[in-house]
Symmetry: C2
Subunit: 325 residues, 2 copies
């Protein structure tokens, strides 16, 4: 039916909002219901529904796949918050903090199981392909999270290693959402390939912006402290770009300071943000994100989908540039 991008986002929100998970035993399902109601952009179900709609798939059936993907994504957040000991997400207390570690482990596991069950029971075209994509992506996201944790322990990582990490941690699920939607709509093979390239670039841009917002975001909406990635010693695009821009000696000094366990977190955040400011890193990274997004639009144009569908996808991609959270 080719909805515009705002209608797709509203549909994704509505589909997730209408889900209830308060089954028995209550101690297992209440945290799942809570996690699914914490809000969020519903980016992955939106991309999935958008791709499916572009190829005329019946969204009434596809929405079960969209729910599965959002369940899976929120399961990863729930376990990431536990592993990172994050207290707040989207302005709300994290599950591990509101309940306890064991609840985060087990309710997270059950969310993953729910997502598989939800997907297996969906009635969509090319179900085997959809399952193949989902199961491959589900594993790759774990690999990406492991690299992210590995990198926290290292003094410095290369830009290439960072890219591989965010490809796995972030991009593959966006790609997977587009692919699954496309398969549900019987999209031609060339289009699936184009969507893989589109999703990958979108994933890079999305993560670069996440990294940017950690330092220059709107912290009322963001619900976490400014520079949390610096506190956690996460290897971000901000850090790697700054290191690239500095003379080698200064780059090494930056990574020493970033990894330091001698300086307090507040001092580290202040000094590193001061350096980012001096390098005018905000606009440098914004322009990197823009060039990444600009590369996507000609790919969208090549898709064998309706003009309205392609417009919806292009507008969706462009709209992401202006997100504050």
């Amino acid at each position: 039916m080719n909805m515009n991008f705002k209608e797709i986002i509203a549909l994704a929100q509505d589909v997730i909002d209408k889900c209830g998970f308060l089954y028995s035993p209550n101690n297992l399902y209440e945290p799942i219901d809570y996690a699914m109601r914490m809000g969020g952009k519903r980016l992955r179900p939106s991309l999935l529904l958008l791709a499916a709609d572009m190829y005329g798939a019946p969204l009434q059936d596809v929405k079960d796949v969209a729910i599965a993907v959002e369940l899976y994504h929120n399961f990863t957040l729930l376990h990431d918050d536990l592993m990172d000991q994050s207290l707040v997400r989207r302005g709300k207390t994290t599950v591990y903090r509101k309940w306890n570690s064991n609840t985060a482990v087990l309710s997270g596991d059950a969310m993953f199981a729910l997502s598989v069950k939800q997907l297996v029971s969906a009635h969509v075209a090319n179900k085997d392909r959809v399952l193949e994509v989902f199961s491959r992506v589900a594993l790759e996201v774990c690999e990406g999270q492991q690299l992210d944790m590995d990198f926290e322990q290292r003094d410095m990582v290369l830009m290439e290693e960072y890219k591989e990490m965010i490809r796995l941690k972030t991009a593959v699920l966006l790609v997977g959402a587009l692919e699954m939607g496309a398969f549900c709509g019987n999209a031609p093979a060339e289009d699936v390939e184009l969507l893989q390239a589109i999703g990958t670039h979108l994933g890079y841009a999305f993560q670069m912006q996440d990294d940017l917002l950690d330092v220059y975001g709107n912290f009322d909406k963001f619900g976490k402290r400014q520079g949390q990635d610096i506190v956690d010693r996460k290897k971000t695009y901000m850090l790697l770009k700054a290191a690239e821009m500095l003379p080698e000696k200064d780059g090494r000094a930056l990574s020493d300071m970033y990894s330091s366990h001698v300086l307090s977190d507040d001092v580290r955040v202040e000094r590193i943000m001061g350096l980012y400011d001096k390098l005018n890193l905000r606009s440098v990274v914004e322009s990197d994100i823009d060039s990444c997004l600009v590369q996507i639009l000609p790919q969208v144009d090549k898709l064998h989908a309706s003009a309205e569908g392609k417009t919806a996808l292009s507008e969706f991609i462009t709209s992401m540039r202006h997100r504050e959270v």
Copy 2:
């Protein structure tokens, strides 16, 4: 080809032993490989291969499903050990203890994802039914684990509640293994129903015996302390049976002692085991297990499978009665 039960067990062992999981990133996969090499009875893949073989399914293909089920089962053990803070399993250091909590969380998640991927890529008959069983069971096992943890916090649970807990925590995966194997072999619907009943009883018997072995097992082989369930305040068949056998007042005293946070663990284990001994609980429970297993054999006889296949299943069930670990 109708193998006998010892051949099936040897095949299941061999199939799992030949799996390697040392992919990259190493920090994610090394604990998975370790967990899969910790040993174990390979009960679930054995049941699955046995059921498949009974109906003439090609085991070369079915073994991918068997590996998926064993991966899933070992994922649950890995997370259970983390939640229970267990130091040792099968005489070896648990993953959470050998590495750390985050490794246990993430490598466990990846094991679950691997099991889904392994299953999705298997080439077997009735794949949709196999996936349906797997995804339902994967969620139910989480529900069972939640009930088990809930019960630790309660002073007393009813025998019926205990049965529902072990049905979910233990029986459904044994049932699922039999069902999946049967679907791979195009078993008739009546046989699938019979196998559900067989697996459920087997699950009860298996868990009752687990509970028994916690007190009266061979602790050299068992690799954990005698009475660990008592230490953990797990509601076991031993406890509930003892409470049933005692006059109401004494039963209440037992549950008070079981839940006590005043007495030391050693004193609690000693007193409760003394009471079990006085009630001659070992032989009472052994006879309960026997009557549970005896109920299964006539059901096996009703299956529309080869005589050799039914003999293999009967002998397999009988052999479980004599396990020490």
